[in-house]
């Protein structure tokens, strides 16, 4: 077995050890002395937007039902001995999983039995062991998950924003799918997806805690599948997405006490290379903090006029595969005025440019705040995996952050936060209360 390579961060005073198993699984081990908790995750580059693909066994692309990646995540938790979550519990560990646009992440945390739990993680994710009856029963459980989300107005307004923004891209579909799409899922389809995407070279393992990396790597090597077929080239197919949002607005009525508004700005950038994406995310986060942070004129103006309250937030998300958007909003009694005031603020900022002092201050703040997110094995591992899967090394954050310029930030603000990219999602109370 080859020696592990070490990646250091001077800022965090951390060393992460990395190696690859003979089957092609990339693994990172983050030793953290003094923590009671261990954490490990196994992530697959496969999510809700990967529905159109060429199966490993075939040549022709297929279109899988919406929600299948999430369904598969649920089903891997079933094996012949019963519920895998229960088997983690028996070890004193607690496990869970998460499906997103472009990844599925399985993880556990524990304070004892770390090695046994890690073996279980590698086993249950790599070797599906569920039956047909379990698939049918799962439809009931996921059906309730979908209804629970639909009753949540914050989830609904976000889901509607994506539907309005994307014309063809599968980012417009819900991660869990719909009751109708879920009904079409069967065991064979799930197995096909597993064979195609759950290949070691399409996955990553990250573990953090007070352990010896070399010992853990030996365990991982032994417990991982030995794929001889080399790297599997996975062909995913995405539709051509026009740069402008599909709809300028979408409104729905629900049993809420006051209106909610979410403005979405669709990212038009074409370059989704890892470096470009990483840098753009960092620049965008500063732009948003300068413009909408608690120290900004715009935020304070909106707040003191009563157009927004503490629920207001602005954030940027982007993924490979052409998904990128800024979302901002919250509760308001005057939805139209709020939108107008934000648009006015954006126009003023575009003509004047960002305040240079604010820009530099936000940079300093971001570095400290970022440092604080590494205070638990869980967060550290999840962030590390998130960036790794997009081809970036999270430790570069500090370097990039120190070098971004005001000019770049201004260009980014003008190209992203303008009316042409904007779509407005609203949730209004059932009966107009005015």
């Amino acid at each position: 077995m080859k020696k592990l390579r070490i990646i250091r961060s001077d800022v965090l005073r951390a060393s992460v050890h990395t190696g690859e198993t003979s089957g092609g699984l990339r693994a990172f081990y983050w030793p953290m002395a003094g923590f009671a908790r261990y954490f490990a995750l196994l992530a697959v580059k496969y999510g809700s937007v990967d529905n159109n693909f060429v199966p490993r066994a075939g040549r022709k692309p297929i279109e899988a039902p919406e929600g299948i990646a999430h369904f598969l995540e649920h089903k891997l938790f079933e094996n012949k001995k019963g519920d895998v979550g229960g088997q983690f519990s028996a070890l004193g560990a607690s496990s869970n999983a998460m499906t997103g646009f472009d990844s599925t992440m399985y993880f556990f945390s524990c304070t004892d039995n770390f090695e046994k739990s890690l073996r279980l993680l590698l086993k249950f994710v790599n070797r599906p062991d569920f039956g047909e009856a379990g698939v049918e029963r799962e439809k009931g459980i996921i059906g309730q998950e979908i209804l629970m989300e639909r009753d949540n107005p914050d989830w609904r307004i976000f889901s509607n924003m994506l539907k309005a923004m994307y014309v063809r891209h599968p980012a417009r579909t819900d991660v869990a799918g719909t009751p109708e799409s879920v009904a079409k899922i069967n065991r064979d389809l799930l197995m096909e997806c597993h064979r195609t995407f759950y290949h070691p070279s399409n996955m990553v393992l990250v573990a953090a805690g007070a352990f010896d990396p070399a010992e853990i790597h030996a365990l991982v090597e032994g417990a991982s599948p030995k794929e001889n077929g080399g790297r599997a080239e996975i062909r995913r197919i995405y539709p051509d997405e026009p740069p402008a949002p599909g709809e300028k607005s979408m409104t729905e009525r629900m049993d809420v006490t006051r209106p909610k508004v979410l403005l979405g700005f669709k990212d038009r950038e074409k370059d989704y290379s890892p470096e470009a994406l990483f840098r753009r995310d960092i620049i965008t986060s500063i732009v948003l903090d300068v413009m909408f942070g608690r120290t900004s004129r715009l935020y304070n103006g909106l707040y003191s006029r009563g157009l927004i309250d503490g629920t207001f937030a602005a954030s940027h998300s982007s993924y490979e595969k052409g998904i990128g958007y800024t979302a901002m909003g919250g509760d308001t009694n005057r939805p139209r005025e709020m939108v107008d005031a934000i648009m006015g603020g954006l126009r003023r900022a575009a003509s004047r440019g960002l305040d240079a002092r604010e820009f530099h201050r936000k940079r300093k703040k971001a570095i400290g705040a970022f440092l604080s997110t590494f205070d638990s094995p869980d967060n550290s591992a999840v962030l590390f995996a998130h960036f790794h899967m997009r081809g970036a090394n999270i430790f570069d954050y500090f370097k990039v952050m120190e070098r971004v310029t005001l000019g770049e930030a201004n260009r980014r603000m003008r190209s992203l936060l303008n009316e042409d990219n904007c779509t407005v999602s609203r949730i209004l109370p059932l009966a107009s209360k005015k």
């Binding site: 800022v11 003094g34 923590f35 009671a36 908790r37 019963g82 519920d83 979550g85 229960g86 519990s89 028996a90 004193g92 607690s94 496990s95 869970n96 945390s109 304070t111 004892d112 029963r137 799962e138 009931g140 459980i141 996921i142 309730q144 209804l147 629970m148 639909r150 009753d151 914050d154 009525r253 629900m254 049993d255 809420v256 006490t257 006051r258 942070g293 608690r294 120290t295 004129r297 935020y299 304070n300 707040y303 003191s304 009563g306 309250d309 503490g310 509760d331 009694n333 201050r361 936000k362 300093k364 703040k365 971001a366 570095i367 400290g368 440092l371 604080s372 590494f374 205070d375 094995p377």
Partner: protein, 432 residues
């Protein structure tokens, strides 16, 4: 400095009704300061809730949000929070500051000292004059807090739990919502709020927590300086309330425009954290619905496929337990029947050695994990302290390990169902 492996706070009296609780550790990249002023939940919960919002918005030196945020940014992106929460059955006004540890920062920044200066400024030099808070701030924060309370209904999950507790504790302090109520807030004036603030500072206990790589003596000294000049007093909480007399379970049903039915079952374990049998009650909770291999999870979700979320949790101060689940309206009866059966099974003492072992491990892991999260360490300690049961994590782990199946059965025999609360769809959805 000795590394503190037991995560035991050192508590030192640092003035009249003032305690400093310090946990020096090098484990974290942050230093956390929490200043907590606790009070019994009562009709004036609205006062404390609004006070938290008003204090958060400005002080003499930092008169608005921009100035406050500017200062926290100068402290390397420290995060500041202020507001009320419910801890251990009390209403706690919490001022919290999380800063990067100065040892990770470029030069000697004296960040801890600046952190304390900031907390002191926000608490003791508010934006007020002539015996009243700033009226614009109060007006705005009244509106925002009222909106926040009203919007509880938007989260079906939280709303159902809150309503279940309200119905269950109709004659107990526990019924009061920690954020107060819309009418109570409407009546408050800048002057009334300021009077309340003075009274709070003079009569309520102040607990200051610090977790991080800090010098214990310096912290205690700094707290003493901040809170000097308080007069001797009792600074106590009300004695625990007697339990209401037993009665048959009540069912409360409410309807809203929604798609899923939310069920909450409120139980009383008739014990509390200060009693010797509480660890057994915690085990009962975990066995029944407290984790992903609990009886309810296994039967209601995994076997029957009736729900996505189903679990229970127990609370320290009165041993109240709430079971919660989201399901199809037509499956409600079946779910209630299963809950009844599972409770009966525990009452009959049908608990295998294997199940006890799994549950115990899970409960132990939970305690051990608290050691990794400064805010949880603080919250747990405070909850135990106000309920007369401070113990360090190791002691809790030992107690949990000592719980036998017979102990759990003894709890199961005395647990009673108090309230069944159902929030269900109104029927056909109106769309306009």
């Amino acid at each position: 400095m000795q590394e503190n492996h037991h995560f035991r706070f050192t508590s030192v009296k640092a003035g009249e009704g003032v305690s400093a609780h310090v946990l020096p550790t090098r484990k974290f990249k942050t230093t956390t300061i929490c200043l907590i002023i606790g009070r019994d939940l009562d009709e004036r919960a609205s006062h404390a809730a609004l006070l938290g919002e008003v204090l958060k918005r400005g002080s003499a030196k930092y008169p608005d949000m921009r100035a406050i945020a500017g200062q926290t940014e100068e402290m390397y992106g420290a995060s500041f929070g202020c507001g009320v929460s419910r801890i251990g059955g009390k209403q706690a006004l919490v001022l919290r500051l999380i800063m990067p540890n100065e040892h990770f920062l470029p030069a000697r920044t004296r960040l801890l000292e600046r952190g304390f200066d900031f907390i002191e400024e926000m608490l003791l030099r508010p934006l007020a004059s002539a015996g009243a808070f700033n009226k614009d701030v109060v007006r705005r924060e009244k509106t925002n807090l009222q909106a926040r309370i009203a919007s509880l209904v938007n989260s079906k999950f939280e709303y159902a739990q809150r309503r279940c507790i309200e119905e269950m504790c109709r004659r107990e302090r526990f019924r009061f919502y920690e954020y107060g109520n819309v009418e109570g807030i409407a009546r408050l004036t800048p002057r009334m709020l300021f009077t309340f603030y003075g009274e709070l500072l003079e009569t309520r206990p102040v607990d200051v927590y610090v977790v991080g790589d800090v010098d214990e003596r310096k912290v205690v000294e700094r707290v003493r300086r901040m809170m000097k000049g308080r007069r001797p007093g009792d600074y106590l909480f009300a004695a625990p309330e007697p339990e209401p007399s037993p009665r048959r379970p009540r069912t409360v049903t409410e309807k809203q425009e929604m798609e899923q039915t939310r069920l909450c079952v409120g139980l009383r374990t008739h014990t509390a954290v200060r009693n010797a049998d509480f660890p057994a009650a915690m085990m009962y909770d975990v066995l029944l619905g407290g984790y992903s291999h609990s009886r309810l999870f296994r039967v209601i979700r995994e076997k029957e496929g009736l729900a996505y979320d189903v679990y229970s949790h127990i609370e320290d101060s009165k041993g109240l337990m709430i079971i919660t689940a989201g399901l199809e309206k037509r499956n409600l009866k079946k779910a209630l029947r299963i809950i009844g059966e599972q409770m009966a099974g525990l009452r009959a003492g049908r608990i295998s050695r294997d199940e006890m072992a799994k549950t115990r491990k899970n409960a132990v892991t939970r305690f051990m994990s608290i050691a990794d999260l400064p805010l949880l360490l603080i919250q747990d300690h405070y909850s135990e302290m106000v309920n007369g049961a401070v113990a360090c994590l190791d002691e809790w782990v030992e107690r949990i390990k000592g719980v036998t199946a017979a102990d759990v059965k003894a709890i199961a025999e005395k647990v009673t169902v108090d309230t069944i609360y159902v929030l269900e769809p109104r029927g056909k959805k109106r769309t306009r």
